[in-house]
Amino acid sequence: MSAPTRSRDDERTGTGTGADPQPGGGTDRSVGLTRSRDGALGTIKRGIKLSPEFTKGLWLTLLFAAVATLGKVIVPIAVQQIIDNGISGAGGPDLGFVTRMVGVCAVLLVATMVCSYLMNLRLYRATESGLATLRRKAFRHVHDLSVLTQNSERKGALVSRVTADVDQISMFMQWGGLLLIVSGGQLVIATTLMAVYSWQLTIVVWICFLPLLFGVRWLQKLLSKAYLKVRERTGDMLGAVGETVMGAAVIRAHGTERRTAQRIDDSVLATRAAQVKAQRLSMAVSPFAEMVAALGNTAVVLVGVWIGIDGGITAGQLIAFLFLMTLFVQPMMMATEIFNEAQNAIAGWRRVLGVLDTAPDIADPGEAGKVLPRGAVRVDFDGVTYSYPEGPVVLDHIDVQLEPGTRIAVVGETGSGKTTFVKLLTRLMDPDEGSVRLDGTDLREVSFSSLRRRVVMVPQEGFLFDSSLGDNIRFARPESTDAELEAAVTELGLREWLDSLAHGLDTPVGQRGESMSAGERQLVALVRAYIADPDLLVLDEATSAVDPHTEMRIQRALDRLTRGRTSVAIAHRLSTAEAADRVLVFDAGQIVQSGSHAELVAERGVYADLHASWVRSSA
């Protein structure tokens, strides 16, 4: 009986929480997250099962809830008893009876208040603990998904799965769910008690309220549509405002302020219109409920008096009946909000389940997985074919052997298949046909822990976490000491770079490493890879231009990093190709040329052309 009773549409702003309704992206969706197809009840059942905290000790919480709800009828009963037995009782006003009655009721009220507190507390605890578990599971699962699946969703949408979507469930559980229990109990108890006083009047009341219940359900459907529109409009509006901020330079440089202002005005007004419309629908239920309540009251008084004259009901009972009826109005007024919240929660749950239901298509063989011995790796590609889901073939029967300890450079035009090649090499994806073997073992049979220790990839954008430089390097091997980090930096020939930073390893790198230059981020990524100490190093060289000094440092670090290891680099620099023991030239999903730089330059072919333009631009 102690649910937070704030009327929700008063505080409803209509923006709702994040969680975009459409999965976004116009590309093919076949690789995306699974959409949970469970019905509402199925979703709730599965959702609750995921977090045992929800149901642990639930019976006790429900017991407290039952007692707490009983508290709602104490006052109406007291009023009835006092009017019937205290005031109009046989011997006139009976002060003693009333005192006893009030005393008992006061004790009961305090007792139900305590139960109510306990119920709330247990509910808060259980839901928050359960939702924390849900968040953790979903988070972990996102990381277990393959790169392909991860990239098929916007990062923001994935974040919503562990934040906004879970918050929606939380909102419902602590507010709507609570109200659902309490209001449901309230209706049952009020009905029972009213029936005890007069079954005829109870039927009258239900006849009055029943249509409202159905009306509310219908209204709620309109409402969720209206709120969806508000969310969409708000999204557009934020997009328009975002343009003024993110496109500030472009807008000024090209003088398009007036046009931008117009776009903002339009979207702000469209948002407002959607909000006002949603608000109009959401507020409509309260006046209707009031009218229904008035109708009910009138009917009860008229019918009550009519029955009462025949002795079917006492005056006190009739008045108590009127008090009990107020218990009906409140849940009805809240019903639209409760349904709405429930629907949002179910949608949120469905989205979280959608994440958990998506089977990682690149799975860790786990316990059964093989562990590779240390030492420079030999790599075999055996008839490897790959095509993206619903896409053309990107790699077509690739056969190639990479000898241990060699430096391989991979070159080719955009779309030639070179990126796919290294993704297969690091098992970010599995081939459709054929196999990739490390020292003779199929990659798919190698346990992830062994694979990630022996094969390390340095992606094109050296992503840094918002932390210190040292922490970012240590990310590869958390147990390494500062001394080890510094030694690594020195061994890669980057000592003077580290010394030039005011705070050395403690230098903060900023969000995504933005306090560092692009070149410095690459340096950090290289040191990080060095600390990881892999046997097979896979590099996707960055394309962005770096000033020559940093460029020199990167090259020197690269040279030292690759010594004694097998390394495969997607080369964008001429120097990388020159320094390689072997260059693989990709074109249209095939390896069209293979050999040392000197050999390939001498041949006529793709590489010679590529080289010519490289020389023109950079040497």
Binding site: V250, T298, R453
Partner: protein
């Protein structure tokens, strides 16, 4: 009457001495939060005052609705009492009733329902309208202010913050408007209830005078305790989201280094902190709600007890007792609306302050009224003695919320830079990182004003030019650009009139962007941005170039604008630019030698000033710094053991910090 005002007025102060349990350590905290709380209350009222003044009619009507609802509500208690005395009790006592009595009862009850319904409808509808109108009004003002403020201001403020100023902060500011009319109505309701009770029976009214102030005080005390906890939880919520964002952004690194376990641990820690904070909030709520519900009920019991005594002395009628008891149950809810308002106020005040700091920001550029002649030839660019500095605190990680701060230590980026470029010439600007090249391009476009010195186009100081003149005659191609959520066509023309598709295609061809655009589904009508096609870094650069050249600028400034473009394609683009018949003046910041060699002339800058000027080969001879820089590449290959020549000058804070937000997403080149 007095009661209503007393309740609200004493509410904030009344809680200053909460009953009991003020342990020593918490006492200090309570006191300090008292101070801020009182501040918040009066400041919150001022914020609300702004809204009331802005929408007086809507507010007035909403309050009218609230009062109508309240009055009818209070009246309904009397109606119930009246019906008890005149319809129900007589009928039961006499065993018969009259049609007139029944009809009167029915009419009264229906009238009450109608009155409440109308009042409620008016109140809710207009409260919402007022809230949304104020939101819209301030969102527009904030966004317009963003357009007005200079680029330098934008660079000082993180994107996320500016977006939340326009969205979450505006929303938070006007949140109290939703419960506001109800609160005013509640005060009114308390006042008339007090009068009604006093008129009915002053003794019974005393019970109310005890119960309701206690309720109000409990409300305030609760809000005061819960709001710091709630805002703490909110901060933790942001932290959880931040960890998830970062972790998913770096998913490739996490995966390739096999660090899923540690990341999950990091996320779980944040999640558990949030969980604990939310449970702490829940504990208070769990206690507060039952208490708020029980207290009026206990009041009703007290009324019944005292009422019996009054009844036995004949001071009141049974109907009076029923009426007062009913009033108690009615008043419980409105009293709680104070709590909602108080709960919204702290966020509202913070939101208002943030919004105001945007709206009060100064530094909008002033423009002259001179115009340039439209000639076919390039602009004669003249730069005299440019000096540009920025505050050191600028890129420290402790950026004050909106504080423009008093400038202390400043770093000089441009230091007496001079340059003349004759119409139609192509000049390459070369220099080490931090030499001020990018800053120079933004000053030349007047995206920022220098501390000192002048930039002139055809002899006219750019500060004397009318607002639209610079974009009309000059164009900047940045290293990374922003792509609007719009069609390709709109992204190129940016709404400029008089550019037909043929011209757009011509520009795309020149930028070597026609190929990939033609392959898009819809061609020029294909949508770009998050909801449409995502472009790679090189494609974005080519789009930016097309955007610039389609305007046929007489001055084209390229800031390392082809860095992410394949070298072959870059060469084609640069050749295309040179072959154009209308000879624009071109200034290009470059690293690649091929780019440099295409220029008529090279300017070597270092430490914010010109250190050498001439053709590439001349500079190789005359400027050792230049020679060292452009040959660093080759030497890096041969002599890896030699120390790297140190770059002079401080690292330059990128004046075009990353194409914010709209950064090039990791591309998937297959």
């Amino acid at each position: 009457m007095a009661q209503g005002t007393t309740t609200t007025r004493t509410a904030p102060a009344g809680g200053a001495a909460p009953p009991g349990e003020d342990g020593t350590p918490t006492a200090a905290r309570t006191r300090s939060s008292d101070g801020t709380h009182r501040g918040v209350f009066s400041r919150g009222m001022r914020v609300i005052g702004h809204a009331v003044r802005a929408e007086p009619w809507i507010f007035g009507l909403a309050v009218f609705g609230a009062m109508l609802h309240s009055a009818v509500n209070v009246g309904s208690a009397s109606v119930l009492g009246h019906i008890t005395d005149h319809t129900i009790l007589p009928a039961f006592a006499e065993g018969s009733t009259t049609a007139a009595a029944l009809l009167a009862a029915a009419a009264l009850l229906m009238a009450v329902g109608l009155g409440k319904a109308i009042g409620l409808a008016i109140r809710r509808l207009l409260a919402g309208l007022m809230q949304f109108r104020m939101q819209a009004r301030y969102r527009r003002s904030v966004a317009r202010k963003y357009l007005e403020l200079p680029l330098s201001w934008h660079h000082r403020h993180p994107t996320g913050q500016l977006l939340s100023n326009a969205n979450a902060d505006v929303e938070a500011t006007w949140q109290p408007l939703a419960p506001l009319p109800m609160v005013v109505g509640s005060i009114f309701m308390l006042a008339i209830s007090a009068v009604a009770m006093l008129v009915t029976d002053p003794v019974l009214a005393l019970v109310a005078f005890v119960v309701f102030p206690v309720l109000a005080a409990a409300n305030v005390a609760f809000q005061r305790r819960v709001s710091p906890l709630a805002s703490h939880a909110q901060a933790l919520r942001a932290e959880v989201s931040g960890v998830a964002h970062e972790s998913f952004d770096g998913a490739l690194v996490v995966k390739t280094l096999g660090r899923e376990d540690t990341e999950t641990e990091r996320f779980t820690d944040a999640t558990h902190r949030l969980r604990d904070a939310l449970i702490r909030v829940g504990r208070l709520r769990a206690m507060f709600d039952p208490f708020m519900e029980a207290l009026p009920n206990l009041g009703v019991l007290a009324v019944l007890l005292i009422g019996m005594w009054r009844l036995s002395t004949g001071a009141i009628e049974p109907g009076d007792l029923v009426q007062i008891a009913f009033l108690f149950t009615l008043l419980a809810l409105p009293i709680r609306s104070f709590g909602w308002l108080l709960g919204d106020l702290p966020r509202s005040v913070v939101g208002w302050d943030r919004v105001q700091s945007v709206l009060r920001s100064e530094g909008a550029m002033e423009y002259g009224d001179r115009t340039l002649d439209d000639g076919p030839a390039g602009i004669a660019l003249s730069v005299r003695d440019l000096t540009f500095t920025y505050a050191d605190s600028y890129d420290s990680d402790h950026r004050d919320l909106m504080d423009d701060g008093t400038p202390e230590a400043r770093t000089t980026v441009l230091d007496g830079f001079d340059l003349d470029i004759a119409p139609g010439r192509t000049v390459a600007v070369v220099g080490p990182t931090g030499s001020g090249k990018s800053t120079l391009t933004t000053v030349l476009m007047r995206l920022v004003d220098p501390d000192d010195g002048t930039v002139s186009y055809d002899g006219t100081d750019v500060r004397d030019l009318a607002r639209d003149q610079i974009p009309t005659h000059a164009a900047l191609v940045p290293q990374g650009t922003f792509v609007f959520e719009d069609t390709v066509r709109d992204n190129i023309t940016l709404g400029a009139a008089g550019i037909d598709d043929e011209q757009v295609w011509a520009a795309l061809r020149l930028a070597r962007a026609d190929g990939f655009i033609a392959e898009l589904d819809g061609g020029l009508d294909a949508r770009l941005g998050e909801k449409g096609t995502t472009l790679s870094g090189g494609q974005r650069q080519r789009l930016a170039l097309a955007r610039a050249v389609v305007r046929r600028p007489r001055l084209l400034i390229m800031d390392d604008a082809t860095s992410a473009v394949d070298p072959q394609v870059e060469a084609q683009i640069l050749a295309g630019l040179r072959e154009r018949d209308d000879a624009a003046t071109v200034l290009v910041v470059a690293y690649r030698r091929a780019t440099i060699e295409l220029a008529d002339e090279v300017v070597y800058m270092e430490g914010g000033r010109v250190r050498g000027r001439g053709t590439h080969s001349e500079l190789l001879q005359t400027s050792p710094g230049y020679a060292r820089l452009v040959t660093a590449y080759e030497r890096a290959g041969e002599s890896e053991n030699e120390p790297v020549p140190e770059e002079p000058g401080p690292a330059e804070p990128n004046p075009n910090p990353a194409p914010r937000g709209g950064r090039a997403r990791e591309e998937d080149d297959r």
